[in-house]
């Protein structure tokens, strides 16, 4: 009678072959597990969208890393999250430029080596030494992208000519149809520009601040609501709001791509630029990985990813990035005016002095502005 042996029943291997295979498996296991373990997790603190697959998936796959994003809304929120976390919690910090100074002052970010980044390829000379990004000749943050805030409107209710001034928000037909992005900084900055404070829009003395408050209060009867990102998006999309104060192409751009009749322009009084920059978290054990990712985002491919970001678009800051965008996605380059010679080219607007970098109030505290914002909302 045939009795199957162990060796013959196991895939037809004899004992010697089985031992060999088993030994090989045992010896290679540590390498297999090490290969799995090599997927490095990078903790990212950022506005929503920066850690989403449309931006990072390709990089993750190519570099065997995994981003673990923690999203925030607003610079205050970001600072609080860092303040309440142990050092080294966040490897990569995406911050609004006006908060970099505070990050640095509090010792939350590492010094960066300027030579690691394409500072000689910037589209505007300001970007090489962006305000607040350098201290005592040392660099602490790398500008990634920007966007401009101005008059955002529904083309069916506001003409392009009317949108050339913030005065359009007071248009009688828009009563109850003007929405606010629920953050005091951009709206009050715009009101300051409307009051003619120009480059000094954040540096207001008592009289100027009182005037800005008065101007803002006069807009209250026009206001139909105060919204977060989703609400702003919905309000413009379903037509409840016909104009929006405090936003720009970062929201209308997404809707425009979707076919909605909305647009954003920089009015004659000027616009405000939001600027987003990457820093490396103090105490990060993955500083090299973080640096490598920032280098990628500053490369032409990374700049294109940033400009096309699904959550909200932003313009390229490097010449090579813009060239790559034009080549890869002419439609988006045209829509966002990132074409040399375009009159609404964001870089041209900065050069013409029509754009002012977003900042925090110089003579009042953020609390003063926020208190007024609460008063305004309840008026």
């Amino acid at each position: 009678m045939y009795r199957p042996t162990v060796t013959s029943s196991l895939f037809g291997l004899n004992r010697r072959q089985l031992l060999k295979a088993g030994g090989a498996a045992v010896l290679t296991t540590p390498f297999v597990s090490r290969a799995w373990a090599a997927t490095t997790e990078i903790n990212m603190l950022a506005w929503y969208g920066h850690g989403e697959p449309d931006v990072v998936a390709e990089y993750e796959e190519a570099n065997n890393v995994k981003f673990v994003p923690k999203y925030y809304a607003g610079g205050d929120n970001m600072l609080a999250l860092i303040a309440q976390s142990p050092p080294g919690t966040y490897d990569l910090i995406l911050s609004d430029a006006e908060f970099v100074q505070q990050l640095n002052a509090a010792g939350y970010i590492e010094e960066m080596n300027a030579a690691d980044y394409p500072l000689d390829d910037m589209l505007h000379e300001d970007f090489s030494q962006f305000p607040g990004h350098w201290a005592d000749g040392k660099m602490y943050s790398m500008i990634l992208r920007g966007g401009h805030l101005g008059v955002s409107y529904n083309k069916n209710s506001v003409t392009e000519e009317e949108a050339q001034s913030y005065a359009c928000f007071w248009k009688p037909e828009l009563e109850g149809k003007v929405g606010h992005f629920d953050w005091h900084l951009p709206t009050l900055g715009m009101m300051s520009l409307y009051d003619g404070n120009g480059a000094g829009l954040w540096d207001l003395n008592d009289d100027q601040w009182a005037k800005v408050q008065e101007t803002t209060m006069s807009l209250r009867k026009q206001v139909g609501g105060f919204f977060d990102y989703g609400g702003t998006f919905n309000g413009l999309k379903n037509g409840e709001m016909q104009a929006m104060c405090g936003i720009g192409d970062w929201i209308t751009g997404v809707l425009e791509k979707d076919g909605a009749p909305v647009a954003s322009v920089i009015p004659k009084e000027g616009g405000i630029q939001f600027t987003e920059s990457y820093s490396i978290g103090k105490g990060s054990e993955k500083a090299d990985e973080a640096k490598k990712f920032i280098q990628y985002m500053m490369s032409p491919a990374g700049q294109v990813k940033s400009a096309q970001m699904a959550a909200y678009p932003g313009f390229c800051v490097t010449k090579a990035g813009r060239a790559a965008l034009v080549e890869a996605d002419m439609a988006e380059a045209k829509r966002s005016h990132q074409i040399d010679g375009d009159s609404q080219d964001p870089i041209t607007l900065i050069k013409e002095g029509r754009i002012h970098y977003r900042d925090i109030p110089q003579q009042q505290t953020l609390e003063d502005w926020n208190d007024f914002w609460s008063e305004y909302k309840s008026a």
Partner: protein
Amino acid sequence: MSSNPEQRPNLYALTWRLPIIFWQLIFFVGPVLFMVAMSFFLVKNYRMTEAFEFVNWSRMLTRGFFWDSYWYTIGIATLSTVCAMCIAFPAAFALAFRASESTRRWAIFLLIIPFFTSYLVRTFSWFVILSESGVVNAMLGYVGLGPYTMLNTNFGTLVGYMTLTLPLVVILQTVTMANIDKNLIEAARNLGCSPLRTIWQVIIPLSKTGLIIAAIFCFILSFGDFVAPFYLGGSQEPTLPILILDTTKSGQQWPRAAVVAIMMMVTLFAIAFTGIALAYRKGKGAK
């Protein structure tokens, strides 16, 4: 010498009460005490630091916008309570006195179902219905009316509050009225009481406790709700929950937000205790 057994603590009963006591201590008393303490803390460099300063109280309570929000929240929550009670009463009356036992059971089951879904999702669905290009305005358009602005208004906020509270109010009213002794109603009718007078002088007094409890629940839920005034009311005239959010957003002022929260709790306690006292107050001649 002998001790009165009625005065001796019943350890068996006390043991069974322990879980609820612990629950209250851990999830209510503890956090409330911490919140009270926090209202005296200070925020330095976006980080809370322990202190005992009254600056948060003076800062919040001397601001006009706080009191505007406070009275607005009380007003809209009261309006919500009145609306919910009025809308719910006929439905609850019908379920309690007109519907069969099985219909009532099914109706209560159906009223519970909304609680299985996210309130936020239910609120967002109102966007489609209430927007200017939404379902309601489309239907009104067929008869030559509208469009009316319903989102980002007090009406929108009220719709949200009703979404949250109405099923609960109907359930509480129904259960209360269903437990009224039907003989008393029949007696009133036999003695010549009109249907309306029967409601006013028999049904409402007999279901007073349940009705007041339903109203208190409705008020508490509306008063503390953030979703409806923010998403359907457009944050126009911020309610106190929205003010809490605004306060924490700017400079992470959790201590000031704690002041707002404590004011809300004190108000709710006052209203709840007054309501409960009214609910259980015995009428004239009662023994």
